[in-house]
């Protein structure tokens, strides 16, 4: 979820960060390690965000100020994140740490079927529920969001208005990386209570793909993320029920469902890539 929101912001400022995976894995390790060291989950989330932001900062520095190829840099950030965390994280593979535990919301969690699933979660999951409307408001209604989007559409106009488009872009990329970092921290601290190398396992890459498929809109991105997650849960559930379908086909479910759902969603809405992003895609095609 967080990875997707982070990447939405990043791409809205006209930068594509294939290194989202790297930001997430950095957040996962930082979140776990700092929670373990300090005993404060809050510290873990904070450091997860900072480390995700740090990698995004490197990406933005290279891409925006050095004019490096975004795709190559992004891939590099991804492998760097995975490699460095595998090395730094060795000491944390076998340690146990409580992290964030689910907190049931009174009354709401009593609702049959849905209640325990939706309202008995950790705090980061609750925040992710409201993040979509929050982000939609921020990007499309607030002034800062307007400036961020302007950096992605036409940076020259932005400089006419007295803003430094490079700084604005950088802020967007870093913010995106921080949110992705929190996503990683949630995976290690709240969901699995484990750190192991490469634990994000391509989820950051899926996030990048979902953002593009979702037309850079947090709303559709959220639908995509829930369909993806839901289909994954469904395939495990079907296996648990002993449904007689090949596991290989079941494991394709998340991808097939997501593509299908986004196909429908994208058709009804306008598929509009930020203009500056289009430039990159077109120029790297040459």
């Amino acid at each position: 979820m967080y990875g997707i929101y982070g990447e939405t912001i990043t791409e809205r400022v006209g930068v594509i960060n294939l290194g989202t995976e790297g930001c997430m894995i950095a957040g996962a390790l930082a979140g776990y390690a700092f929670t373990y060291k300090s005993g404060l989950p809050f510290m873990g989330v904070l450091m997860g965000a900072l480390c995700g932001g740090l990698l995004a900062f490197i990406h933005s520095l290279l891409v925006i100020y050095r004019g490096a190829n975004q795709l190559a840099t992004g891939l590099t950030i991804m492998f760097m994140g995975v490699g460095i965390t595998a090395f730094l994280g060795i000491d944390y593979v076998s340690v146990s740490c409580k992290g964030l535990s689910p907190v049931a919301i009174p009354l709401l969690s009593q609702i049959p079927v849905l209640g325990p699933v939706v309202f008995n979660q950790d705090i980061l999951t609750y925040i992710s529920y409201i993040l979509c409307p929050l982000l939609t408001w921020f990007l499309f209604k607030s002034r800062s969001g307007l400036i961020l989007r302007a950096a992605g559409e036409d940076s020259e106009v932005l400089s006419v208005y007295g803003y430094n488009p490079k700084l604005v872009k950088m802020a967007g990329v870093i913010l995106g990386g921080m949110i992705s970092g929190i996503g990683g921290a949630q995976l290690s601290m709240a969901y699995t209570h484990t750190w192991i190398e490469n634990m994000t396992n391509g989820r950051g890459v899926v996030a990048v793909a979902l953002v593009v498929l979702a037309g850079y809109n947090p709303k559709y991105a959220m639908i995509g993320a829930y369909v993806f997650g839901g289909a994954q849960a469904l395939q495990l559930l079907l296996q648990a029920q002993g449904v007689n379908i090949s596991t290989f086909i079941l494991q394709m479910f998340p991808y097939i469902f997501t593509i299908f759902a986004l196909f429908i969603a994208a058709k009804s809405g306008k598929q509009s890539a930020p203009a500056e992003l289009k430039k990159i895609i077109e120029s790297s095609a040459n």
């Binding site: 795709l71 849960a233 449904v243």
Partner: protein, 381 residues
């Protein structure tokens, strides 16, 4: 694009990562960039090389093999140099790592992961004078022997503990891939459970990964939600699921190594590896030039009788009665009067896969492509 790559390399920021990218983006088992071959100054010592597919501290498969390599080092002291390389993917990268070790003087090599077999075969063909020991392989070569333990024996015993513990008569099993190594463990687990409790079923979920903690969590949660009150697993790193079991109050059956400290209340037991003595003996045989014609030249399989596999300590909830029953069967296994796969066994569809009075050979057990009666799950043909 190429220019950009060079530019990046120039910044020195990403040399490692780009190398990892070029060396094969399989991404299945972590960054290849952490694979380092420790340098060795050989002297007169024989050199033995080990490669592992994952990290050494995962409470799992790699930790068990790593402990075995430590034992070799300790036993022979100055006479043997041990080279190790962790996180070696099951690709051409494994061949390269082995070649690198050979350049450093290694004459005995242990590729320890299932998928290291074919890369190791390629290297073995080029170096007919060296000895290769592959862990778990189903094929051999002139100078490549495979070794493995009949880990399904302790899985049968762990199944007995699970069958006695369950109240819902539903056991859950988080598998990795539907390959014979995994399938035989699931089958043995169910057969052991059924010996204690004829009504028990084992529901299997495959994650298609050796180690993806998020999928492990989701899979174990689905099993628990569908009523399973014992969760066993065949994953490389076992920590996530065992801790989850403790948290949710369902019983945990481990694998590879004793992880009872992770679940002080809900731990039942585990099927574990004890490679120490075997690794030492294999290394010694090869170094002395006695590999050809030895028991290790070919498919070597050892079991609970040889002490290569064993059952971990029991958790607090296992009753004395259950322990006695398990120990009795274990003793019969050691004496050779009992096998997990003998007698009348039917598959899921009711076909007889093992006749009454027949005991499966190791080859038969290792080519299983079906689940036995009582297992709920699907294997691709």
């Amino acid at each position: 694009m190429r220019k950009e790559m060079k530019k990046l390399l120039g910044t020195g920021l990403a040399g490692l990562s780009v190398a990892a990218m070029l060396s094969g983006c399989t991404g299945t088992e972590g960054g290849a960039d952490t694979a380092q071959v420790s340098a060795a100054d050989n002297g007169d010592a024989a050199v033995v090389g080990f490669i592992f597919v994952g990290a050494k501290d995962d409470y799992g498969y790699n930790k068990a093999a790593y402990l075995g390599s430590l034992a070799v080092e300790e036993k022979f002291g100055d006479k043997v140099k041990v080279l190790r390389s962790e996180n070696v993917p099951e690709t051409e990268e494994a061949s390269r790592t082995l070649e690198q070790m050979i350049q450093q003087g290694a004459t005995v090599l242990f590729p320890t992961s299932y998928g290291h077999l074919y890369p190791a075969m390629d290297v073995a063909e080029k170096h007919p004078d060296l000895v290769f020991y592959h862990q778990g392989g189903l094929e051999c070569a002139d100078n490549l022997g495979t070794y493995f333990g009949t880990i399904y024996e302790p899985y049968y015993l762990a199944g007995m503990a699970a069958g006695a513990a369950t109240e819902s008569d539903k056991l859950g099993f988080v598998g990795s891939f539907p390959i014979p190594q995994v399938i035989e463990n699931i089958n043995a687990f169910e057969l052991g459970a059924k010996a204690m409790n004829p009504d028990v079923t084992t529901t299997v979920i495959f994650t298609s990964s050796w180690s993806d903690p998020a999928l492990q969590t989701s899979a174990a949660n689905s099993l628990i939600d569908s009523g399973c009150d014992v969760i066993a697993q065949h994953q490389d790193s076992t920590k996530t699921i065992i801790e989850l079991c403790e948290d949710k109050g369902v019983y945990a059956v481990g694998y590879h190594a004793d992880a009872s400290e992770l679940a002080p209340n809900m731990w039942l037991t585990a099927a574990i590896w004890k490679w120490d003595e075997l690794f030492c003996d294999m290394a010694e045989t090869a170094i002395e030039g006695k590999f050809d014609g030895s028991i290790y030249d070919g498919k070597y399989r050892a079991g609970i009788a040889e002490g290569v596999v064993d059952l971990a300590s029991f958790g607090p909830s296992v009753s004395q009665e259950t322990k006695d029953a398990i120990n009795e069967v274990k003793q019969k296994m050691i004496d050779g009067t009992f096998s997990a796969f003998s007698g009348l066994i039917k598959d899921q569809n009711g076909n007889v896969v093992c006749e009454d009075g027949h005991t499966m050979t190791v080859d038969e057990a290792e080519s299983m492509n079906y689940f036995v009666e009582g297992v709920i799950g699907t294997i691709e043909e």
